[in-house]
Symmetry: C2
Subunit: 235 residues, 2 copies
């Protein structure tokens, strides 16, 4: 039974890395001794080692040993054997490129499907959707495919940002970008605001946190879905 | 001799489409009777016909006939025979995907190199650089390659946006994104603010408009370059 925590962001304003999620993670990771961290998204170009240490520091009050996937000789086996997995944020293209190159998409999928607890933040949440065509990131590398894990039947737009009515900037708003996505794709998009996450347990997908999510369906007006809604109603 | 006008945006705050550029365009397009418009980027999913009409309306005081590339049976020939070319903004991935699929990259390059006056705005400016890995757009389609025209030896980041010191949003700033680009790429990036453009005449590349550009070089701190600077000093 799938057991995923799919978060918009690792960090909310005024808080430290993962801080706002700690109460959930206490529960999510309660039965495990070791966590496999996948640092490939490298926010700001941080090294795998530093990124992994950052996770260990954030989870220091849990009695969990955090190991980065780069510490293993066989990353496919590391995933297969993992008690729990966390894929951190950063650049979604860099992350997905590594997952494709190292042929880790299928092992990750199998692991999630058999029930390994998963945490994704930002880029790590983007890859839980059908594809990453609704990432906010710059395409600084060109992965062979934009297909992702498809563990939920939607796409995620993490860090969803409402238009600023006072803006004088003429670049596209997030809403405009997602509407453009729907001129070429029919996948429903969950605009997940910072502080929100999706708790996936088997086929149930509950929107958690205090905020609404903004939902974009092809050929429909976008609408708000309140916290604690089950996203399966969107199917 | 190359003769390109590479603009950050088609529209500045408070103005209409192309309005702020009209004095430059009067000069840029002075010797021509017909303009070939390439509407492939389809901002907001607008049709090729509507987008082309929008350009004709904006240039109505010029005695120029505007034709969309979709009106020609052979787009490669249309480019070859064009007196002047305008590639409009929208989604950079959608634009580049069409250019690759229709094998228009080389014809466009040849046309620019022989001196056909070119106007690019936003996505149409992104493609003038070496590749589009510094676009702000969502990857709503997956082009076979992110390589672009390479008519200038840089990448463009159009609609360049300074960080908002009051922001509570934890998504990456534009500067952070471009720094991430430089963890995987060594191309210098011109952060072109709205209202700025680059006037390329042969090997001269002058920053025009009233604003500085922000320059990002790999392994260097970003810095400001004043209006009217020649960008060839960055080589």
């Amino acid at each position: 039974m799938k057991n995923l925590l799919v978060a918009s962001t690792s960090t909310i304003y005024g808080g430290s890395f993962l801080q706002y999620l700690l109460p959930q993670l206490k529960e999510h990771f309660k039965a495990i001794d070791t966590l496999l961290f996948i640092p490939y998204a490298r926010p700001g170009g941080i090294t795998y080692e530093s990124y992994t240490s950052k996770v260990a520091v954030a989870l220091k009050d849990f009695s969990i040993s955090v190991k980065g996937i780069h510490e293993f000789d066989d990353p496919q086996k590391a995933i297969e054997n993992a008690e729990a997995i966390f894929v951190g944020g950063g650049n979604t293209f860099v992350l997905l490129d590594q997952l494709h190159r190292r042929q880790l998409i299928e092992p990750l999928k199998r692991s999630m499907e058999k029930g390994t607890p998963y945490l994704g933040t930002s880029a790590g949440s983007n890859i839980v959707g059908l594809n990453v065509k609704t990432t906010n990131d710059m395409p600084i590398v060109h992965p062979e495919s934009l297909s992702a894990l498809g563990l939920i039947p939607f796409n995620i737009n993490p860090h969803y940002l409402d238009p600023d009515p006072d803006s004088k900037h003429k670049g596209e708003t997030r809403e405009t970008r997602i509407k453009e996505f729907h001129t070429c794709n029919d996948t429903t998009v969950i605009g997940l605001r910072e502080g929100s996450w999706i708790a996936v347990k088997g086929e149930r997908m509950i929107l958690k946190g205090e905020l609404n999510a903004r939902i974009f369906k092809q050929n429909k007006n976008p609408f708000e879905l309140p916290a604690n809604s089950d996203l399966s109603q969107l199917l």
